[in-house]
C-alpha cells in the first residue's frame, strides 16, 4: 500500500534521511522505532509532504506521491496525527473533529464517524464543547487520533502517541489503536520511542538509526532480537 524507495530528506545541509526504503501492506500495523533524532518523525513528515523530499520515491496505492502537495496527499487517503498532538487549542472538541473532516462533504457520513469516535472514546463525548487546549495530555492524544480518523483515511500515520503520557494512559491509547486496526481494518504506520509497546502491538517493525534503517522484520522476531533488546528494550 505504502512503499518508500531510497528516500532522502535534508534540512539545509543536514541529511536527516539517508536513503530509507520500507513498505506497509494493507491492514497491517507497522512500527518504526528508534532513538531521538534517528529520523522517525522526518520519515512521517516526508510521507505527508510536509517536508520536501530530496531524492527517492514514495508510492501510495501504486501512485507516486513524493512531489504531491500535503492537501492532495490527505485527499488521497493518508492522514497523520502529528507529533506532540498539535490539536487546535482554541477550538472545541467537536470543532477539532470537524476540521479533521475538512475535505469531506458528506454530512451524514461525517456524523456517523463522529458517533463511532464518541463510542470509541466516551471521554471526548463528555468534553465535546470544551476547548481542545484545556484537555489533559491523554485526552488530547485521543482527540488527535480521532481527528486524523475523521478524514476517513486509508492509511493512518501516528507520530509517538505515547509522548508525555502516563503508562496507564499509554496502554489505553494502544488498546484503542489495536481496536481501530481490527474493527475498521485500518492500516496504521506507527512511529514510537517506546519500542516494547510498539512492537507488541505491531505486525512488523523497522528499526532506525541516524537516518538509516538498520533492522526490519516481524515484530515478534524483533522483540527477541539481541541487538534490539540491548539498545531499545534495556534487557
Amino acid at each position: 500500500m505504502l512503499k518508500l524507495i531510497d528516500v532522502e530528506t535534508c534540512y539545509g545541509n543536514i541529511r536527516a534521511l539517508k536513503g530509507i526504503s520500507l513498505n506497509v501492506a494493507e491492514g497491517e500495523i507497522v512500527s518504526l522505532i528508534g532513538a531521538n533524532g534517528a529520523g522517525k518523525t522526518t520519515t512521517l513528515m516526508t510521507i505527508s509532504g510536509l517536508v520536501p523530499i530530496s531524492s527517492g520515491q514514495i508510492f501510495f496505492n501504486n501512485k507516486r506521491i513524493e512531489k504531491t502537495d500535503p492537501d492532495k496527499i490527505v485527499a488521497a487517503g493518508i492522514s497523520q496525527a502529528p507529533e506532540g498532538r498539535r490539536i487546535f487549542p482554541g477550538l472545541s472538541v467537536l470543532e477539532n473533529l470537524e476540521m479533521g473532516a475538512f475535505l469531506r462533504a458528506d454530512q451524514r457520513e461525517i456524523r456517523k464517524d463522529m458517533d463511532y469516535i464518541f463510542d470509541l472514546f466516551p471521554l471526548l463525548n463528555k468534553r465535546r464543547h470544551q476547548a481542545g487546549g484545556t484537555l489533559s495530555g491523554g485526552e488530547q492524544q485521543m482527540l488527535a487520533i480521532s481527528r486524523a480518523l475523521m478524514a476517513r483515511p486509508k492509511l493512518l500515520l501516528l507520530d509517538e502517541p505515547s509522548l508525555g503520557l502516563s503508562p496507564l494512559m499509554t496502554n489505553q491509547i494502544f488498546e484503542m489503536i489495536k481496536k481501530i486496526n481490527s474493527e475498521q481494518h485500518m492500516t496504521i504506520f506507527l512511529v514510537e520511542q517506546n519500542a516494547y509497546l510498539a512492537l507488541k502491538l505491531s505486525h512488523r517493525g523497522y528499526v532506525m538509526e541516524n537516518g538509516f534503517i538498520t533492522l526490519e522484520g516481524q515484530a515478534a522476531a524483533l522483540l527477541t532480537d539481541n541487538n534490539v533488546k540491548k539498545a531499545y528494550l534495556g534487557i
Binding site: P70, A75, S79, G90, L91, E95, L103, R111, R147
Partner: protein
C-alpha cells in the same frame, strides 16, 4: 499588614514620579530674562496625586483579584444577553432607525465624522479577516487602503473614470496587491510577517511620496469628484448625506459577506491556520490558498474603503497613509476583540468618534489612548466583545457504526 505594604509601594511610586516630573513640573526657564523659576509646590502636588492614584489602583487590583470569577461571569452574561433574540432584535431595530434618521437630525459636521467612522468600521472588519480570523499579523494594512484611494484618484485624473467604476477596480487592485505581498511572506509568520508587511506599507508610501510623475508626490491629488447620484448635481450637504448612506449600505454588505465567510469552508480553513499551521496542513487544508485568500479578501475591503475615502475628502496625499493609520486600524481590531464583528464595529466607532467629541482633551489624546489600551489588557484581554463561535450540536444517530 497588606495595607502597610501597599502604602510603601505607593510611596515609592510617588517618589519615582516626583523625580520623573521634576524637569517639566518644577523647572521653568525664562529665556528672556535668563532666570530659572523653581516651582517647588508643584512637586508636592504631583507627589501627592501620584501617591493617591497608585494607592487606589492597588486597592482596586486587590479587590479585582478576589472577585475575578464573578467579573467573568458578568462578562459572559453580557454576551448571553446579546445572544437573546428578544433583546437584540428590538435593539437592532432601534439602531437601524437611529442610523436612518441620523443625517436629518444632526449637523453636517456630525454626519461627516460619522462617515469617517464608518470608513474605519470597514477597514477594521477587513483587517479582522487577516488578523482575527487567519491570525496573520499585518502591520501594513494601510498600504491596501492607499492602493484603493490612489487607484480612484489616478484613474479619474487620467481616464476620467467615475466613482462607481472605480469602486470595484480599486477593490480588485487592492486584492491584487494583497496577493503580491502574500506570495513572499507565505513561509513567514508572527513577528517576521509583521515586519515584512510593515515594510511593504512603507514602500508604498515612499513610492507615492517620491514618484512625482506618477502620484504627484507630497502635494497629492485634489479635485477628486464625489460620487454622482444618477447624474444629479448635489450640494456639499446633500453629498455628505449621500456618502453617509452609501457607507451604511457598504458596511452592511461588509458585515454580511464577512459573516458568511467566517462560517464557510474557507473561514474554517483560516481558523485552522490561525490555531496551528502544521496541524492545518495535516488536515488537508491548502495553506498557500488559505493565506493568499486571507490577504486578498482582507485587502479588498481596504481598497473599497480607500476609494470611498478619496471620494469623501476629494483630496488625498501620502500623509494620510502613514504607519499610524495601520496602528489605529489594528488597535480597533484588538480593542474590539479579534474575530468578533460587533466588537470591531463598537471599537471603530469609539476610537474615531471619541477623539472628535472630546476635543477639549485633544492635547492628552495619546495619553488617554495609551491608558485605555493598558486598561483593556488588564481587565478585558479578549477585547470588548470576544468572538463567540457558533456551537454545533450533534445528536446520536440510530446505527452509529462505520461499515
Amino acid at each position: 499588614m497588606k495595607l502597610a505594604e501597599e502604602f510603601k509601594k505607593s510611596f515609592f511610586v510617588a517618589l519615582w514620579f516626583m523625580l520623573l516630573t521634576f524637569p517639566i513640573m518644577v523647572v521653568q526657564v525664562n529665556t528672556i530674562e535668563n532666570v530659572v523659576i523653581w516651582r517647588w509646590h508643584n512637586i508636592i502636588l504631583s507627589g501627592l496625586g501620584s501617591f493617591l492614584l497608585s494607592f487606589c489602583w492597588q486597592l482596586f487590583l486587590r479587590r479585582k483579584g478576589h472577585s475575578t470569577p464573578a467579573a467573568q461571569a458578568s462578562a459572559s452574561r453580557l454576551q448571553h444577553l446579546m445572544a437573546e433574540p428578544r433583546l437584540y432584535r428590538p435593539a437592532l431595530i432601534i439602531l437601524a432607525l437611529f442610523a436612518l434618521i441620523f443625517p436629518f437630525v444632526f449637523s453636517h459636521y456630525q454626519v461627516n465624522i460619522m462617515t469617517t467612522a464608518l470608513i474605519y468600521v470597514m477597514l477594521g472588519l477587513g483587517l479582522n479577516i487577516e488578523v482575527g480570523l487567519a491570525g496573520l499579523l499585518d502591520l501594513g494594512y494601510v498600504a491596501f487602503y492607499a492602493v484603493g484611494a490612489y487607484s480612484y484618484a489616478l484613474l479619474n485624473y487620467h481616464f476620467g473614470l467615475g466613482f462607481w467604476t472605480a469602486l470595484p477596480v480599486g477593490a480588485l487592485l487592492a486584492a491584487f496587491s494583497g496577493i503580491l505581498v502574500g506570495f513572499p511572506v507565505l513561509r513567514l509568520r508572527g513577528d517576521y510577517l509583521a515586519i515584512v508587511t510593515l515594510a511593504f506599507a512603507e514602500i508604498i508610501r515612499l513610492v507615492l511620496e517620491n514618484w512625482n510623475a506618477f502620484s504627484f508626490g507630497p502635494s497629492g491629488i485634489s479635485n477628486i469628484p464625489r460620487p454622482g447620484f444618477f447624474g444629479m448635481a448635489l450640494t456639499p450637504e446633500q453629498s455628505a448625506i449621500y456618502m453617509y448612506f452609501l457607507l451604511i449600505v457598504l458596511c452592511l454588505l461588509t458585515i454580511f459577506v464577512i459573516r458568511r465567510l467566517q462560517y464557510s469552508r474557507i473561514g474554517r480553513a483560516w481558523v485552522a491556520l490561525r490555531e496551528d499551521e502544521l496541524a492545518c496542513q495535516a488536515m488537508g487544508i491548502d495553506k498557500t490558498k488559505a493565506k493568499l485568500t486571507a490577504f486578498a479578501l482582507g485587502a479588498t475591503w481596504a481598497g473599497m474603503a480607500g476609494v470611498l475615502f478619496a471620494a469623501k475628502t476629494t483630496f488625498i496625499n501620502p500623509a494620510s497613509f502613514t504607519f499610524l493609520e495601520s496602528a489605529m486600524i489594528l488597535a480597533i481590531v484588538v480593542l474590539g476583540g479579534m474575530g468578533s464583528i460587533p466588537g470591531v464595529i463598537i471599537a471603530a466607532l469609539a476610537l474615531i468618534l471619541l477623539p472628535e467629541y472630546l476635543r477639549v482633551f485633544s492635547d492628552y489624546r495619546m495619553i488617554l489612548f495609551g491608558a485605555a489600551l493598558i486598561m483593556m489588557m488588564i481587565f478585558r484581554p479578549q477585547g470588548i466583545l470576544a468572538d463567540m463561535r457558533k456551537k454545533y450540536e450533534f445528536h446520536k444517530m440510530k446505527d452509529s457504526r462505520i461499515n
